[in-house]
C-alpha cells in the first residue's frame, strides 16, 4: 500500500488538474452533442402538437396531435406517392450506377488498352468540375429529348459518376490479384463472367458503401427533381415536403410531421450502415490525403 508522500502530493495536484481538464472537455463535447440533437428534438416534439401550441409556447413534452397532423399533411400532399417515387428513383439509380461505374473501374484496373491514361485523366478532371456549369445545358437537352417530367433525367445521368469509377478502380487495384483473372481465363471463362463472378463479389464491401451513399444522395437531391419534375404525381418526397410550406400557410404541425417522415428512412438506414458510411468518408480522406 502506498502512503501519501511529498512526491505524490504533487502527483495528486496534477491529477486533479487533469480531472478538471477532462471534465471541461467532456462538457464541451457533450454540449455540442446536445446542440446537435436539439433541432431533432424540436422537430419530433413539435410534430405532436397542433400549430397553435407550436407558435404560442415552448413545448418540452410530446403532445397528442401527431395523428391529426398527419391527416392534415396528407391533405396538402400525397406523401405516400412521394415516398414511393423517391424510393423507386433512389433504388434504381443506386443499382444502375453501381453496376456501370464498377464496370468502368474494372476496365481501368485490370486492362491495358490504348488511351487508358488519357481517359482516366478525363475522369479525374471531371471529378473536380462544379456541377452547376451544366445545369442549363442539361435542362435544355432534356427538353430537346422530350424527357421532361419523367424519372429518366434523374436516373440515367447519375451513371456518369466519376468519383465512383475512381473509387472502384482503387479498390480493385488493392483487392483483386491479377493471377485470379489469369487463372479464370486459363479455365476458359468469358470476360463478362469474370466480371460478374470474380470482380463484383471481390469488391462487394465497396459496392455496398458507395451504394448507401448514392441512395442517400438520390433520396436527398432537390435541385434536379425541382427543375425536371412538373406534375404532382411524379414529385419526390423532398419536393412534396417543400410544397407543404407553400400550400399549408404556416400550418407548422403538418410541416413538422412532414420533416419527421422525411428523416425516418435516413435514421433506419443510418442505424444499419453508420460504420460503412464513416469508412467511406475515411477512405475518401485517405485517397486525397
Amino acid at each position: 500500500m502506498k502512503t501519501v508522500t511529498k512526491q505524490s502530493a504533487e502527483a495528486i495536484r496534477s491529477s486533479a488538474i487533469k480531472h478538471v481538464l477532462h471534465a471541461v472537455i467532456y462538457l464541451f463535447a457533450g454540449g455540442i452533442a446536445i446542440t446537435t440533437v436539439i433541432p431533432f428534438a424540436i422537430m419530433l416534439i413539435s410534430s405532436t402538437h397542433d400549430t397553435y401550441d407550436i407558435v404560442a409556447q415552448i413545448n418540452i413534452l410530446p403532445g397528442n396531435q401527431f395523428v391529426r397532423n398527419i391527416q392534415r399533411l396528407t391533405q396538402f400532399a400525397n406523401i405516400k406517392q412521394g415516398m414511393l417515387n423517391s424510393l423507386f428513383i433512389a433504388i434504381v439509380t443506386t443499382f444502375v450506377q453501381i453496376y456501370f461505374t464498377a464496370m468502368a473501374g474494372y476496365a481501368f484496373s485490370k486492362f491495358n488498352f490504348k488511351g487508358k491514361n488519357f481517359l482516366f485523366g478525363v475522369v479525374l478532371v471531371a471529378m473536380m468540375l462544379p456541377g452547376q456549369i451544366s445545369i442549363i445545358g442539361s435542362y435544355k437537352q432534356i427538353q430537346d429529348m422530350n424527357l421532361m417530367d419523367s424519372f429518366i433525367p434523374l436516373i440515367i445521368p447519375s451513371i456518369a459518376d466519376c468519383f465512383a469509377v475512381f473509387f472502384y478502380k482503387q479498390f480493385l487495384d488493392g483487392s483483386l490479384p491479377n493471377e485470379m483473372i489469369e487463372a479464370a481465363i486459363a479455365d476458359g471463362a468469358k470476360e463478362i463472367t469474370i466480371f460478374h463472378k470474380i470482380a463484383l463479389p471481390m469488391i462487394a464491401p465497396a459496392l455496398v458503401t458507395e451504394g448507401v451513399m448514392n441512395f442517400i444522395g438520390s433520396w436527398n437531391s432537390y435541385l434536379k427533381p425541382l427543375i425536371y419534375l412538373t406534375s404532382k404525381e411524379k414529385m419526390t418526397l423532398p419536393l412534396m415536403i417543400a410544397s407543404v410550406r407553400d400550400a399549408s400557410h404556416a400550418d407548422f404541425g403538418a410541416q413538422y410531421v412532414g420533416m419527421v417522415i422525411s428523416v425516418i428512412p435516413l435514421v433506419v438506414l443510418f442505424v444499419f450502415s453508420s460504420r460503412m458510411i464513416m469508412n467511406n468518408i475515411s477512405i475518401g480522406s485517405a485517397i486525397k490525403g
Partner: protein, 303 residues
C-alpha cells in the same frame, strides 16, 4: 490469351459509362456555353444568337455581385466555426481516455444525412417570427423577440448555422481519418523529448495532416460557393435578397424569370469565380517550407 487480345474487352466495359458521361455530362457543359451566347424563347425553346450580350449584362449586374457577396459572407460565417469545432472535436476524440467516442461521432455526423429540404424547413420554422421555437425560448428568458427573416444579417446567420450544423460532423470524420494517419511513434518520440500537448498539436499534428486540411478547405470552397438548397429553403422572402447565393441567382434567372441564356452565362460566371477562389486557396495554402520545416528562401538567395 495475350494481353493485346484481351484489351478490346476493356472498351466494352467502358462503353456504357463513357457513353452516358459524354451525352449527359460533357455535352451539357458545351451546350451551356452555346446557350450563354444566345437568347432562348422560354415557350418554344428556340435559340437566337446574341453574342456577348448576356455576359455584358452579367458583369454589369449589381444583383450578380450582390449574390457573390452573399455567398461569400454566408460561407465564411459557416466555414470558420464548422472547421474549428470539427477539428477540436476530432482532436478530443483521439485521446485514449475519451469514452463514448463512437456514439458521439454518430450524433455529430447524423445531420449530414438529413435532406436539405428538411433542414431548410426545420431552421425556417425554428427561427420563424413571432412563434418559432427560438423566439419562444427567447421571450421566456425575457429577451425581445427577433424577426430573423426580415433582418438581412441575421437571416444570413441562420443559414450559416444550418449549414454548419449539417456539415461539421462530416469534417470530424474526415479529420479523424487524417489524424489516424499520423504514426504513434512520432508522438512517443516527442514525449520522450519532453513535448507537451500544445507542442504535439502545433509541431506534429498540424504539419503532418496539412494535405488533408488543404483538401477539406478547397473542397469546402467548391461546395460552399455552390450552396443553393439552404438559400432557397430556409427563408422564403428576405429583404434585399440578402440570402440569395450565386446558384440561387442562377436558378432565379433561369427557372423563375425564364432567361435561360442569361442563366447559362451566370453559370459560366460562377464557374470562373469558383475556379479563381480555388486556385487562390490552393496557392495560399501551398506548403512553402522544406521538409525540415524551414521557410523556403526566395529564388536566388542562398540557404
Amino acid at each position: 490469351m495475350s494481353l493485346k487480345k484481351r484489351a478490346k474487352y476493356a472498351y466494352f466495359f467502358l462503353l456504357p459509362f463513357f457513353a452516358i458521361f459524354l451525352v449527359f455530362s460533357v455535352y451539357p457543359i458545351f451546350y451551356s456555353l452555346f446557350i450563354s451566347f444566345s437568347k432562348m424563347d422560354p415557350l418554344s425553346g428556340n435559340l437566337s444568337f446574341v453574342g456577348l450580350e448576356n455576359y455584358l449584362r452579367l458583369f454589369t449586374s449589381d444583383f450578380f455581385y450582390k449574390s457573390i457577396f452573399n455567398t461569400l459572407i454566408i460561407w465564411i460565417m459557416s466555414i470558420i466555426p464548422q472547421l474549428t469545432i470539427a477539428f477540436i472535436l476530432a482532436l478530443i476524440m483521439q485521446n485514449k481516455w475519451f469514452r463514448g467516442r463512437s456514439i458521439l461521432r454518430n450524433v455529430y455526423y447524423f445531420p449530414n444525412l438529413v435532406t436539405s429540404v428538411t433542414i431548410g424547413l426545420l431552421f425556417g420554422s425554428m427561427f420563424s417570427y413571432p412563434g418559432g421555437a427560438i423566439n419562444n425560448v427567447m421571450s421566456a428568458l425575457g429577451v425581445d423577440k427577433v424577426d430573423f427573416q426580415n433582418n438581412q444579417m441575421l437571416a444570413r446567420v441562420v443559414i450559416a448555422i444550418a449549414i454548419c450544423w449539417k456539415n461539421f460532423g462530416f469534417n470530424i470524420i474526415f479529420f479523424t481519418a487524417g489524424l489516424n494517419t499520423v504514426p504513434k511513434e512520432v508522438y512517443e518520440a516527442a514525449e520522450v523529448d519532453g513535448a507537451n500537448e500544445w507542442h504535439k498539436i502545433t509541431k506534429i499534428t498540424l504539419p503532418l495532416i496539412r494535405p488533408i486540411l488543404i483538401y477539406v478547405f478547397i473542397t469546402s470552397i467548391i461546395g460552399g460557393l455552390q450552396m443553393f438548397d439552404e438559400s432557397k429553403l430556409v427563408f422564403t422572402h428576405v429583404p434585399g435578397d440578402a440570402t440569395t447565393t450565386m446558384i440561387k441567382y442562377l436558378y432565379d434567372s433561369s427557372f423563375v424569370r425564364l432567361q435561360f441564356g442569361y442563366g447559362a452565362a451566370a453559370s459560366y460566371g460562377i464557374f470562373i469565380i469558383i475556379t479563381i477562389f480555388s486556385v487562390f486557396a490552393f496557392y495560399v495554402s501551398k506548403d512553402r517550407s522544406d521538409e525540415y520545416g524551414r521557410k523556403r528562401k526566395r529564388k536566388g538567395s542562398k540557404i
